[in-house]
Amino acid sequence: MVIRMSYSRVVEQSDQAIRELTEAGEQILGYIYPHFPLEIAMAHGLLPSLVRTSPSAGGGYESSLQTFACSLTRNIFSQRASGHLTTFSGIVFSGNTCDSLQNVGEVWRKRFPDDKTFRLTYPAAIPSESSVTFLAEELRKFSVAIDSEFKMPFSEELFKDAVALISEIRESLQMLYAARVLSPKLLEYSTLSSLITGFLTAPTTSVLDNVLEIRSSTMEDLEMQVDRDLVSELQNAFLRKDLMDIGKFDESISIRLLLVGGMIETNALSEFLKSVPNFSEDMIILDLLSYGFKTAFTPSISLVGDPFENSARAILGSLGEPTQEGLSDRVRFLKEILSKLSINGLIICEQSFCDPDEFEAPSLARAAEDLQVPSVRLPIDPELSDRVRLEGRIQTFLETLM
């Protein structure tokens, strides 16, 4: 059975859920950088929600930001300048991730002084004990700031509940990712990305129900084709960021694509790709995007010991971002995936004016070239302002692979 779920329905559902939750008195804490400590926000009784870009944000940033701020931050700033984003009780900006977000956070505070904004600073260096300690202290500071701003103290009980919920959603998403690699036809990529969107928008029990429902039907179907242990093996290999023990996959599907990049919304991307003539979602074997794979494959938080240190360890345990040190590790992992999953086309997505993406892209393209895997670069913005040209680029790319 092929499972379909309309992206717009999921987005609508989650937006609706957010509205209802807000009306019911729930406080929503917005965040932008993907590796957000969801469980800590939830331990304070807040609902963390990704501040999503809007394809129709238009302008509004011009008197505050230059055009060379990245298109994601410009889009979000424009939404706020036009009076949107009202469901958020506060917004968290990351520090030390990229120069755009660093500065935009500061500009935001000046332009919207009544907004409750927070800064959570991440270590940029390769994860080590000192970076875990640093991030743990940042999380502790963040927790104190939330408490003082919202008068909602950290609750151990809520934290445990949050860890259980988030872990279950993540593990299910991981399974679905692994299952799709084994059999991409089982679950449309757009459905998987919709589930992730739901999770990013509001990590609630109803999102978990959605994910579990799709997981169970997908796994049932999969079991008719392959051994379930294979899914776990692959899931664990992804979590370890090491595919050495995984056997090479067959090449029964002629075009096997990998999507890579940073802070690109997977649902927006899949909606766009679906609209390209001759493109089929089965071609996408995997993504390594920040709001996709990297969101799903964040390790679960241990409940033994200090919650802040354990959260820091989990956050730093996910696959590195282009904003962090560790390019050579990311390139190594990419090469393993390209070769073990028999990928024969790489789509490198770059948020326009995003320094981290634009610096990383040539290294990724060279890595693919080393393995004779053709690649295409896709400079993309939330408004898809260059849609026609991008469509043409993907079409031409597909033709070269056929």
Binding site: C98, D99, K110, A124, S130, E325, L327, D355, F359
Partner: protein, 407 residues
């Protein structure tokens, strides 16, 4: 016979006598870099890196950002940036990075034959996040390993866990350098280097502060050129000689009532890196109209003394607290202070498309600085190395509009 006396017209700006010494010491710096590279003993460092540590370990140093300034001044920016673009690096990225990547790829077509090949790349992200990615790219091209000293940006006072984190980073740095270059760090040598660095920074600070005088003894281009040794030779013994000489010249100008420009009418603040490819034309053009820049935010970034019982703790404070590593408020405060302390009439903010860390936020700070100081300012947009991103006519128009306010 009628005697014709050719009277040489005095220029609107005055050249520094210390320039000759500057050239000599920068030549020495280049030669030392070359030799160090040949001996397998060269590290490239970012401008905000605690260079005193590798210098104390007797490791040779080269500064790619400074090389970027050379590329810019020799108007080679578009060509070298173009090489990097050919490798896939977007035109939207920092042009210091692009020109550096371009010159690594094509040293034969680069000024001075490119920077000497490094054996290690030392990046400190206290100035921006770009430096790490830039050095990662150079690492892919040269094979030299990268060390990142991670100095997370500050908001106000530096918390204890930030200090500890950066402090541990310094220990890792020493281990890294010992491993790559096989040289230990001796306490005495570190003290000696710290002293040289502190003396040089002290002299440089005096030169900067002397510009409070009217007329100002130094203009923007003067400071951008004479800052080269403080950027690249902090911690060496011979850098002091240059700043002793520069300070003497500055003092002499002040006591003789001689300014950097012939006729000082308007005193402005400059914010950001200069457009290197037109630095003289731009500032000297304004000098002809009586505009001098007694202060700028960029050359004031190298301050602070490495001293006290624990030099590494001092290094942590100084290098975490650099201008670009602090928040927008600190930048606005700094601009307001400079405007007040140097008695400035207005300011020009150069919005450098290459440099998001320095430039994003300028639109807001312009408004706030004017609100607090009452002086007008203007934002002009362009680039420091890539002249393709510099629209001279548009910039001229904006500057004219500012100057009209003083008429």
């Amino acid at each position: 016979m009628i005697a014709v006396t050719e009277q040489k017209k005095e220029k609107a700006y005055r050249l520094l006598k210390s320039s000759a010494l500057l050239q000599q010491i920068m030549f020495r710096y280049m030669m030392e870099g070359q030799i160090a590279s040949e001996e397998g003993n060269l590290a490239w460092v970012t401008s905000g890196f605690p260079v005193e540590i590798p210098v104390a370990m007797n490791i040779g140093i080269s500064y790619p950002e400074q090389y970027g300034a050379v590329v810019g001044s020799q108007r080679m920016g578009p060509e070298l940036c173009g090489f990097a673009e050919g490798l896939g690096y977007s035109q939207e990225l920092c042009s210091y990075a692009r020109s550096s990547i371009g010159s690594v790829k094509h040293p034969d077509q680069s000024p001075l034959g490119g920077l000497p090949t490094p054996q290690a790349l030392l990046a400190c992200n206290n100035i921006c996040g770009t430096v790490l990615r830039w050095y990662d790219t150079v690492s892919e091209l040269t094979g030299a390993p990268v060390f990142l000293l991670d100095t997370p940006p500050l908001e106000g006072e530096q918390p204890e866990h930030h200090r500890d984190y950066v402090r541990k980073g310094l220990d890792k740095l020493v281990d890294f350098l010992e491993q790559v270059f096989g040289k230990p760090l001796a306490d005495e040598r570190m003290q000696e280097v710290a002293l040289y660095s502190t003396e040089a920074v002290g002299l440089w600070t005096q030169c900067l502060e002397a510009c409070k005088a009217k007329p100002s003894p130094l203009n923007c281009a003067d400071r951008f050129l004479t800052m080269a040794p403080i950027v690249s030779l902090r911690g060496t013994d011979y850098v002091k000689d240059f700043y002793v000489s520069l300070l003497a010249e500055v003092k002499e100008r002040i006591s003789n009532g001689v300014g950097a420009i012939k006729e000082e009418k308007i005193r402005l603040l400059w914010d950001n890196i200069p457009p290197w490819f037109t630095i003289f034309r731009f500032f000297n053009g304004l000098a002809k109209r009586g505009v001098v820049f007694p202060a700028d935010t960029y050359t004031h970034a190298w301050t602070g003394s490495i001293e006290g019982d624990n030099l590494f703790d001092s290094v942590v404070s100084i290098y975490s607290n650099v201008y670009l590593n602090k928040g927008l408020d600190a930048k606005i405060d700094k601009m307001c202070q400079l405007i007040q302390n140097y008695d400035l009439d207005g300011f020009i903010m150069f919005s450098v498309r290459s440099c998001k860390r320095y430039s994003l936020g300028q639109l807001v700070s312009k408004e706030l600085v004017t609100e607090r100081t009452g002086v007008p300012g203007v934002v002009i947009e362009g680039d420091m190395v890539d002249s393709r991103l510099f629209n001279e006519a548009q910039i001229q128009m904006r500057v004219d509009a500012l100057l009209e306010m003083f008429a």
